[in-house]
């Protein structure tokens, strides 16, 4: 039950260990890691810079996490989001969910990513080989991904 916004990298194994140690009721841990891809719309990416809204970011991530905890019986969860300038292949975001059984952990991780992407105040600026810096546009698919959580009977399938 924690959210962190940080410039430094994270270690998935270490985060899982810290989250599950001593919780012998946990049978399933799911992690989602988002990475900087090496190209954007056909152009080679040289770096990506993440801006955020300090204060609101942490508050919004905590609200998203609280909503997941209301919907699924999670034993533990974690959201870590990096800020600053990152290179292709670098980690951007980590979501970890832990629960007694696997389906809750998997669904909650998917939910956290969909909600985080639509609500947490981060903005990505990509720099390509040509030197141009471009703010990434929000994807229509992300809004559609969000919609499915509004129909509990579908989301639980």
């Amino acid at each position: 039950m924690a959210v962190r916004v940080q410039a430094q990298d994270f270690d998935v194994t270490a985060e899982i260990s810290a989250l599950t140690r001593g919780h012998l009721g946990i049978g399933a841990v799911v992690t989602f890691t988002g990475l900087v891809r090496g190209e954007s719309q056909g152009e080679t990416l040289t770096s990506m810079t993440l801006e955020h809204y300090p204060g609101m970011t942490e508050a919004e991530l905590a609200r998203v996490e609280a909503e997941a905890l209301e919907r699924w019986p999670l034993a533990a969860s974690l959201i870590v989001h990096r800020i600053g300038t990152l290179n292709p292949g670098d980690n951007i975001v980590l979501v970890v969910t832990a629960s007694p059984h696997r389906h809750a952990a998997i669904e909650a991780a998917a939910f956290l990513m969909d909600y985080l992407k639509s609500r947490a105040p981060f903005w990505k600026k990509e720099t390509t080989a040509s030197g141009a810096g471009t703010w990434v546009d929000a994807r229509d698919g992300d809004a559609a991904a969000l919609d499915r959580w509004k129909h509990p009977s579908k989301a639980s399938e």
């Binding site: 801006e51 609101m56 985080l116 903005w123």
Partner: protein, 91 residues
């Protein structure tokens, strides 16, 4: 930075909204008659070329009052901090 007066509000700008306006934040004394986020955007747009550019398509502007997402129709009365930014792209 001085404390805002009762009629003043802190405005914050992020990403390309920030770049177009050319500033990160400012304390603004709002004129009478501005009741909602949408009305505030319409007024900000008149404050110069940077603002006009930033707010030319209100449909792609998102806003938060005191660090909570709000809609264009949301009342701003009582707000201490209002932020404007493009749709978020984290994750």
């Amino acid at each position: 930075m001085s404390e805002p007066t009762p009629n003043a509000v802190k405005l914050l700008y992020f990403a390309w909204v920030r770049e177009k306006i050319g500033r990160t934040e400012e304390i603004c004394d709002l004129p009478q008659g501005i009741a909602t986020i949408g009305e505030l955007i319409a007024w900000l747009k008149t404050r110069g070329p940077g603002y006009e550019d930033a707010f030319q398509r209100p449909a792609v502007i998102r806003a938060a009052i005191d660090q909570v997402h709000v809609k264009p129709a949301t009342a701003i009365s009582g707000a201490r901090e209002i932020a404007f930014f493009p749709p978020v792209t984290g994750g």
